[in-house]
Symmetry: C2
Subunit: 293 residues, 2 copies
């Protein structure tokens, strides 16, 4: 609309980017990486959705402090076009938020439904008619390259997602890395059949031994010496780092908090986008890193 | 979020209203009724989505002229908080837009999918974190009472819809009126069964003899001496005039351009809102009027 483009040359076309982050905890590395983004900061708007909880209050304070530094006293070229903080009224569904508790299968539906509502609220209230791209970026993504936006946009895809890994120390005390996000996948007949046998409100989840979907996970498509630009088509996507043409969202693609073809949140988003005629692409050899608690 | 309310006393609570109109043709009566709204204009934002067609250009010019009059030279109290005009890139799916052509059954799916995208674009780019209510109002609704917003909001419902009628001259040359919008209904077992037998991409349509749904239509629930405040629960809603708590949209409720439980556009919206935990209410004896071509 209104002659807005979202192209493979976003800097040249002066395309505006909206970076959206649902944020429960603040990570300094996340902020430092935002500052280091080589995409012109005057074309970037940041927006955050933070729960109205004690943890959220503390995250807000930490974020505010960094914002003041960057926008008021820091170098001009580091400053972003604008920064929006929204607070979320509804309670997070789980009291405890450690990684183990978050990932328990029986907790996933309520948790991801709440995350969907947070993402939708953030999206519906910040997207503008002249936004070209939306970059979803979780606050616990602690390693991303400075050229992230240009690298992803260069593929000129409606929806594109890098591979989200996590660093850890292996049993020989050596630094190692392992896949973190299992929501980027290619569908399987088994998963389709599982879906058909389920009740209308049941959801398919990825990465749980009890529910073998035999989907092809991007997490396991890595080729150690592979081309970081290699593309694979995807049916489900994760949202830890995810670049979307704003037009896809304006068409109506959101994060279903209810089972949509037995999928919710970011996986349901990919399915909804597909119903709207858009497709998703993954970059198995382009890595970003999730914090390790 | 952010302590925004949407209550039965919106004027008292200084609640902001976003009036959204997809507009292909401009009607003076529609504009005159907006000006006559008794709701404080400084709490109202108007936003329009107009196709980039020749017809759309002419509608834009007519609208602009009225806006200038109202916002620049008219009395202060008539002025709205802000007015946004957006233009829609994609082509309208039908060249001809007369009532007969628009309502042909085989044209409905493409037409209503395009209308859904227009509504979603308008919604996603104008809703803010402090909007309390969204009033959807078609540009060809030529009779609405000045207290429309207060009357509807007083019911304190998530989604509320008046009954949309049309004036005409009957065969005795007498002024008469008839129901216009058949999208506000209570579901039936027949319609549910029809849906189950359909392909996943088929849609149920209301008001067509070929497809008897036996749904209970609000259009036929009118009681001539009935209470205008009488409420009925609804499963599908029309969008000619429709008041929605902004929270419902922020949660993710949009206008599906694809078959969603075999429903699209405003009817699909009601179903999606229900999946999000919100319900819809109709006012069979509270009438607004659609233009008669
Ligand atoms: N607004 C909001 N953000 C949340 C909530 N819970 C987590 N987050 C943030 O949403 C993102 C994803 O959540 P996280 O718990 O890391 O998910 P996981 O890594 O997929 O298990 C992170 O940026 C979190 O800080 C919540 O209840 N509300
Ligand atoms: N933006 C946009 N608005 C449209 C388009 N077609 C119709 N409209 C407007 O959308 C509303 C509903 O359309 P209309 O043709 O009146 O539908 P009907 O009365 O239900 O047959 C009216 O306000 C129209 O002016 C379109 O292609 N794009
Ligand atoms: Mn995380
Ligand atoms: Mn109409």
């Amino acid at each position: 609309m209104n002659n807005v483009t979202s192209s493979s040359n976003p800097v040249g076309n002066r395309e505006t980017i909206l970076i959206l982050t649902p944020l429960a905890r603040f990570y300094q590395e996340y902020w430092d990486n935002l500052l280091k983004l080589s995409y012109p900061h005057e074309l970037i708007t940041l927006a955050f959705m933070i729960p109205k909880s004690r943890e959220g209050n503390s995250a807000t304070a930490q974020l505010q402090e960094q914002i003041t530094k960057t926008q008021k006293s820091g170098p001009e070229k580091n400053r972003f076009a604008s920064i929006i903080i929204e607070r979320q009224d509804f309670d997070p569904p789980l009291a405890s938020q450690n990684e183990g508790e978050r990932h328990k299968m029986e907790n996933q539906k309520a948790r991801r439904a709440a995350m969907s509502r947070a993402r939708n609220s953030l999206l519906f209230t910040t997207l503008g008619p002249s936004t070209s791209w939306v970059l979803w970026l979780d606050s616990d993504i602690v390693e991303t390259p400075p050229d992230l936006i240009q690298d992803l946009a260069a593929h000129d895809k409606a929806i594109i997602v890098p591979n989200c890994f996590q660093r850890y120390t292996d049993k020989y005390k050596q630094p190692a890395e392992r896949p973190y996000d299992f929501n980027s996948w290619q569908d399987s007949e088994t998963a389709q059949k599982l879906g058909e046998q389920m009740g209308p409100d049941d959801i398919l989840l990825e990465g749980y031994a009890d529910m073998a979907t035999y989907r092809t996970l991007m997490a396991y498509m890595v080729d150690e010496d592979g081309d970081p630009q290699q593309e694979v088509p995807l049916d489900g996507v994760g949202g830890t780092a995810l670049l979307v043409k704003a037009e896809v969202h304006r068409d109506g693609a959101m994060f279903p908090p209810f089972p949509f073809y037995h999928l919710i949140e970011t996986e349901g988003f990919a399915k909804m986008a597909k119903r709207l005629g858009w497709s998703a692409t993954g970059l198995p050899n382009y890595r970003v890193y999730h914090y390790n608690e």
